[in-house]
Symmetry: C2
Amino acid sequence: MHRAAVKKVILEGVLDANDALAQANREELDRAGTYVVNLMSSPGAGKTALLERTLERLRGKLRLGVLEGDVQTTLDADRLARFHVPLVQVNTDPGFGGECHLDANMVRSGLSELPLRDIDVLVIENVGNLVCPAEFKVGEDVRAMVYSITEGEEKPLKYPLMFRSASLVLVNKMDLLEHLDFDIEQFLANLDAVNPGVPRILTSARTGQGVEEWCSWLEQRLPAQRRA
Amino acid sequence: MHRAAVKKVILEGVLDANDALAQANREELDRAGTYVVNLMSSPGAGKTALLERTLERLRGKLRLGVLEGDVQTTLDADRLARFHVPLVQVNTDPGFGGECHLDANMVRSGLSELPLRDIDVLVIENVGNLVCPAEFKVGEDVRAMVYSITEGEEKPLKYPLMFRSASLVLVNKMDLLEHLDFDIEQFLANLDAVNPGVPRILTSARTGQGVEEWCSWLEQRLPAQRRA
């Protein structure tokens, strides 16, 4: 019990320090007028594929920027480079065999590489993980998550913090629905059990289903005075 | 930099303490003659579904036991209860908003609830996560991972520690191959890039593909003197 208590104190200290840095990020982003979406999911749920569709569709309509978080590689940033939007890749591997989430300090290092005043909405693509990314604020305005229907119905109950902290859930890979034993009504009931009424959009990065609705949601994030 | 260095020292301390407890687990398991497989994957890759198939097939052939790790709920243990094997659920949620992995201390608490001398092979189903479970030894003899082909080709490059630490990779959800834009040759090349020649079995918990081969692999884990 004593060991557990000591560990808890250390981790609370880490989170307090993180919150202070997240607040500093927040203030910098506010000064630049940049709205930030922290986009989270399991590995392989389709965040990058949805971003490809998003960048295609919003070209010329909204000045998007992307901060890519990954343990290693620049593969995701490489995929998005063809859209010529402000883009930075942050790798978490210098810490601890690879950190499983972005924290406010890592995001801070990425922000310094981005022309924030030229970005209306910055999407932070977090490390693929349903646990720790939800525990670390990075200075975002809002959290959205991508959920792949291949992951089963029960994950909202098993990973409640993540699902509870999301303001929007993109229920992705809908093109596979007919090939899966996936009960979408049960999934949505489980989602409502942990985050009642949370907005959700059924999407497929492959067919484009729901991408327009997601892009409208992003456009509405733009501060009202800049939409006018 | 100083903050990062302090954090690294704390985390190395956590890992050192964990290694000592993992070694204690190892010794207890050796005394009981129980072989332990640490089974890891992303959320929703199909670990529990494969275990259902495994418990069906090995009934009466091998005395299996299961330690289920999840942030919250006993859903997975509930699914496996019908097989009437020694089974314990460990929840990681008392720590830090939910720990994203099992550590040696959590497994220790689970082991104390299991009749180890009646278990030939204990499968530890870790929390769904491609990062931290690979960093925490729990006293296992071997690590195996389940990879769902819905997660894309590039994950071995993005999460190399996990793929590198596995002695067997179950490439799962093969029944979906024809419905995905998934290049399995590219995936296997990426796997070989981080863990050259690692044994792999193509599986589908849904159709049963590869389950017999996986069960044979498990049977071969039994110490030779007990197989005789």
